[in-house]
């Protein structure tokens, strides 16, 4: 069944490519933009109970999962640890998938095991920071709609004198400091702006490249439905098995500035990046052109993965554990734990409020006033999900103990509970709402349309075609020039 479906998609895909790009000898030899993989991680969250194979028991969370690879597609089931709770069992399966994915993409780019890098806490340049695997949005949607190339490192002239081995480059645009729907910047307790970056993997990049979606002009000529490549597990019922494919993956990361001296005691709790931050100047940024070098600590990451089972994508979100307290557990006082975006000593600070204008960051990334974001995590997840994720986080953080990565936690995973629902193109997201306190700080909650839901929001994303067309759950195409 899957084989025939894949074949049908493949044939259709070929016809479609031929149809709008013009067939040529080059097209025949064009490499597969979503190539077959022999390394899809198929580990499910439960296994058959050896004592009673009709029952499921939890997959042991052992260090073997640190090297089991990246899932090409979720492996989930309505059956699981929870009796008569298909929704809960599916949620746990997706959350397990999220942890496997997080570990795989956060492993060192040089192929070592996660947590065994050369920096304190075993930190290292990650898979997703390597241009071999991911590409920042700013390097894809180039000025003038220029054609991007995979793997080429772009260092702005202003940054070249600061460049060196292991350094990453971040280009500042409004998306780098302003939250979705322009709801405002996030200011940490040291008074620095939080910074955001968007990246995509090679299959997603190649789809954009092949279809010339990197420019406004290309998008306006593209009259077909946008369908990014999907991840799919190998079909082991076939002999030989059909290979798996990774499909499109996009990431959104959030960072706080760390001072190597003042924050010396904190740095070991973060994955860090020595980053050259480029302000291109007006009209994109008020400051610049200028390049500054900062040590950034990872405080959040979204991972969006399009899969065959979840054409609305699977949305995983992780945070650094010290970001903000739960709304229900805020206990002001000097002995309360330190947080990146919450000051327990401030009893009168209004929570989850945007900073005063103006918002454009200066090159110092220091906010202009003494405003500090006072962030709490609002309760937008069902308690069953919170309990399940808390248990899974405990197990996965245990196998990461002693590394910087033990300081990260899954918030949860949003997935389509009814992907083929004929009247809901978002596939009835489960859970209904999901927010990362660093990336959707000001849209947490449970208000329909207003509160953060990955799929409900991204379902509204469009191309720059006239008239606009749906862009397959990504806002990346709106950034084409």
């Amino acid at each position: 069944m899957r084989g025939s479906r894949s074949l049908a998609i493949g044939i259709l895909g070929m016809c479609w490519l031929v149809g709008f790009t013009g067939f040529s000898a080059d097209a025949q030899t064009r490499r597969d933009i979503n190539p077959p993989l022999a390394t899809c991680d198929l580990t499910p969250d439960t296994i058959a109970d050896p004592k009673d194979p009709s029952k499921r028991i939890a997959q042991p969370v052992t260090p073997a999962l640190l090297t089991s690879g990246q899932p090409c597609e979720e492996v989930v089931s309505t059956d699981g640890l929870l009796p008569n709770d298909p929704l809960g069992n599916l949620q746990r399966g997706f959350d397990f998938y999220s942890w496997l994915t997080f570990i795989a993409v956060s492993s060192p780019a040089d192929g070592k095991t996660i947590g065994q890098g050369p920096r304190p806490g075993g930190d290292a340049l990650t898979e997703w920071e390597s241009l071999k695997n991911y590409r920042p949005l700013a390097d894809v949607m180039l000025p003038g709609g220029a054609k991007p190339t995979w793997g080429t490192r772009i260092v702005p002239n202003a940054c070249k004198k600061l460049d060196g081995p292991g350094k990453t480059v971040m280009q500042v645009s409004e998306e780098a400091w302003n939250q979705p729907f322009k709801t405002g910047p996030l200011i940490d307790q040291s008074g620095h702006y939080a910074l955001f970056d968007i990246l995509m993997n090679e299959p997603m990049f190649e789809f954009i490249l092949d279809n010339e979606l990197y420019s406004v002009a290309g998008q306006r000529q593209f009259s077909h439905e946008i369908v990014f490549p999907e991840g799919i597990n190998p079909d082991q019922s076939k002999k030989p098995p059909d290979a798996g494919r990774m499909g499109a993956v996009m990431l959104k990361t959030s960072w706080r500035v760390l001072d190597p001296v003042k924050d010396k005691g904190l740095i070991a709790k973060f994955h860090t990046a020595d980053t050259l931050i480029y302000f291109p100047g007006p009209p994109r940024t008020a400051a610049g052109p200028i390049c500054v070098e900062k040590t950034l600590g990872l405080v959040g990451i979204h991972i969006g993965h399009k899969t065959a089972g979840s054409p609305q994508w699977v949305w995983s979100t992780f945070e650094q554990i010290d970001n903000a307290p739960d709304e229900s557990s805020v206990a002001p006082g000097p002995s309360s734990p330190r947080h990146n975006f919450f000051n327990a000593a401030c009893k009168d600070c209004p929570v989850n409020e945007t900073p005063p204008q103006p918002w454009d960051p200066p090159a110092s990334l220091q906010f202009r006033s003494d405003f500090r974001s006072q962030v709490v995590r609002k309760k937008d997840l069902p308690q069953e999900v919170v309990d399940e994720v808390t248990d899974l986080n405990r197990q996965f953080r245990a196998i990461l103990k002693g590394t910087v990565w033990e300081n990260y936690e899954l918030i949860t995973t949003q997935w389509p509970s009814d992907a083929k629902n004929p009247i809901d193109p978002t596939g009835v997201p489960a859970p209904t709402y999901l927010a990362n306190t660093t990336l959707e700080t000001y849209s947490q909650g449970t208000t329909p349309l207003a509160s953060s839901s990955c799929m409900a929001c991204h379902g509204n994303a469009t191309t720059q075609h006239i008239p606009a067309t749906a862009s397959d759950f990504t806002y990346i195409l709106e950034k084409a020039q």
Binding site: M1, R2, L42, P44, I47, A48, E73, E74, V75, V76, S77, T78, D79, N84, D85, P86, L87, L90, G93, N233, Q236, A308, G309, S310, P382, E384, S417, D418, A419, P422, I423, D424, P425, T426, V428, P429, A430, P431, T432, T446, T447, P448, L449, A456, G459, N460, T462, P467, A468, T469, A470
Partner: protein, 185 residues
């Protein structure tokens, strides 16, 4: 190793649909009693709204709007009698008949309140329904309830101010009625 994918997951979901209403975790007094009460509530709700139970309350249901309607309806003193009628009736249709034509107005009007809850997301209490029309609802049960009202689906539409449909949907005909409400007479 057995690999579970969404494809065989879906067949699993279908298999568990029959026990869907017992999948809800409810607070005390007893989970089993609460599960049975919810099952009876969904059975009666389906019978009086005309919407299939598995459409009204899917086996895999992240919204769980039935919990809110159950909680709202259970505040009425006659609620337990509705569940008993449903349990004792030979069929869901017979239960609907006994509730909606019951000589006791407390039962009959609570049945109407439940219908209106499912269709409008609003709570019209039995007392309100017995007042002279036109009547206004006592409350919108919740923001989620507003988005889940079946009247929007029956109209092949979406609630004002809320839509999951993709950009440009307004330029096309809506899907057929079956897509919105499943099997219907």
């Amino acid at each position: 190793m057995t690999a579970f994918t969404r494809r065989n997951m879906l067949s699993g979901a279908a298999a568990t649909a029959a026990t869907a209403v017992s999948s809800v975790t409810l607070p005390e007094p007893a989970a089993a009693d609460a599960a049975e009460a919810m099952e009876l509530f969904v059975t009666l709700s389906a019978a009086i709204t005309g919407i299939e139970p598995t459409t009204l309350a899917p086996a895999v249901d992240p919204v769980q709007i039935k919990r809110q309607y159950f909680a709202q309806a259970s505040t009425d003193a006659a609620f337990s009698q509705l569940l008993k009628i449903t349990k004792d009736a030979p069929s869901p249709a017979a239960a609907a008949e006994q509730v909606m034509n019951n000589p006791d107005p407390a039962i009959k009007y609570l049945g109407r309140s439940i219908i209106l809850a499912w269709y409008t997301g609003c709570w019209y209490s039995p007392a309100t329904l017995q007042s002279q029309p036109p009547v206004n609802p006592d409350t919108v049960i919740s923001a989620a309830a507003y988005t889940q009202g079946w009247m929007w689906r029956v109209g092949q539409a979406h609630p004002m101010g809320y839509s999951e449909w993709r950009f440009g949907y307004w330029a096309a005909d809506p899907p057929p009625l079956d897509a919105f409400i499943g099997k219907h007479a």
